[in-house]
């Protein structure tokens, strides 16, 4: 009556690996916008050893949105937290600079909730279109944004 699935264990292992894969690319250390603008090839090193390359055009666009002091406070890449089972994505916002940047991109006022800015899919598409290299996804196992 009880049947056996031979690849069941293999799939379990494969799935456990999913957690590792989706977050392996996170930066070891974020850099400020002013530091990145000063670099010849703006980049950060990721936890998996790869190099995340920024687009100078995007950095210049970001610099045009904020003041010189704020450029020293804006940490890049900005992390977009995707929580399990939610249709929304949250921008992890450590200071007011991220809030200002996102508000200017979306052209609307924003109120962070528990140091997070909630973005809906159309807003996310807009943010990713303009800041493709300056943002990174972070997959969180928690089911709350």
């Amino acid at each position: 009556m009880v049947s056996e699935l031979p690849y069941e264990r293999l799939l379990q292992e494969c799935l456990k690996g999913e957690f590792r894969v989706v977050n392996a690319h996170l930066p070891g250390k974020q850099k400020t916008l002013s530091d990145l603008l000063a670099e010849e090839y703006p980049h950060v090193l990721c936890r998996d050893g790869s190099t995340h390359l920024f687009k100078r055009k995007e950095l210049k666009y970001l610099a045009s949105l904020i003041t010189a002091d704020e450029q020293k406070a804006l940490l890049l890449p900005m992390l977009l937290e995707v929580s399990a089972g939610q249709g929304e994505v949250a921008v992890i916002c450590l200071g007011e600079v991220e809030e200002k940047v996102i508000a200017k991109i979306l052209d609307m006022s924003i109120t962070p909730r528990q140091r997070k800015i909630v973005l809906y899919r159309p807003q996310l598409a807009l943010v990713r279109k303009l800041l493709r290299a300056s943002t990174q996804y972070l997959f969180s196992p928690k089911s709350e944004v």
Binding site: L15, S50, H52, S83, A84, A133
Partner: protein
């Protein structure tokens, strides 16, 4: 489709706890994989749209460049133009790195801007037509690099979406239902055991009363 049961060595409470843990893990992973697929699709569609835009932009730029080049050739003559262009050859510097979108490593290229670099031809002997041609060609190069990055990204994202979809389908239609079915089977087994125990006790009671 009838749900397949997993192989349970012994129908015990320990097995049930293990299975319930596995079900929780599988459900959590399913949610993450689902989100990942939706993010990958969103990115794929965005990149596809951008690729189309960049491709049409590149075609327009090419046609503009060829127009400018033919005007320059008409103005200077082919032999003179070729003589000037021999000196303009230079190596391109492209910074290559990667960018990660939801676990997919996508190549990233950045053409190094040649700021203040002299194009190589004599500015005295040539006209502004040639300057315009050179300027347009440089723009074309930038677009080609951008297009290469986008097309490769599109290819890699497409491959990853189909792979992740298979995992998601395996979870949704195979692993989770079979875990649920096995857990249900174990509950039924325990209930059956309880009922057996109860009827056995009743029988023993009757036997004791008969003595």
């Amino acid at each position: 489709m009838p749900q397949q049961l997993l192989k349970v060595v012994r129908p015990t409470k320990i097995e049930l706890i293990k299975l319930r843990r596995r079900l929780t893990l599988a459900s959590r992973i399913q949610k993450i994989v689902k989100d990942r697929v939706s993010i990958l699709i969103l990115e794929f569609l965005q990149i596809a749209k951008q690729t189309v835009e960049i491709k049409s932009q590149l075609l327009a730029e090419f046609s503009g460049t060829y127009k400018a080049l033919s005007i320059a050739a008409g103005y200077h003559g082919y032999i003179a133009l070729e003589k000037e262009l021999i000196a303009t050859e230079r190596d391109l510097e492209i910074a290559a790195g990667s960018r990660n979108i939801g676990g997919v490593r996508i190549p990233a290229f950045e053409l190094k801007e040649a700021q203040g670099a002299i194009r190589g031809y004599s500015l005295v002997d040539t006209s502004s037509w040639l300057d315009q041609t050179a300027q347009l060609s440089e723009k074309c190069l930038e677009t080609i690099v951008e297009l290469a990055e986008l097309q490769r990204g599109l290819e890699l994202l497409g491959r990853e979406i189909s792979r992740t979809k298979r995992i998601l389908n395996a979870l949704e239609y195979l692993i989770i239902p079979s875990l649920q079915a096995t857990i249900k089977y174990l509950y039924m087994k325990f209930e059956e055991r309880d009922r057996e125990e109860k009827s056995r006790l009743k029988r023993v009671k009757v036997l004791l009363e008969q003595r």
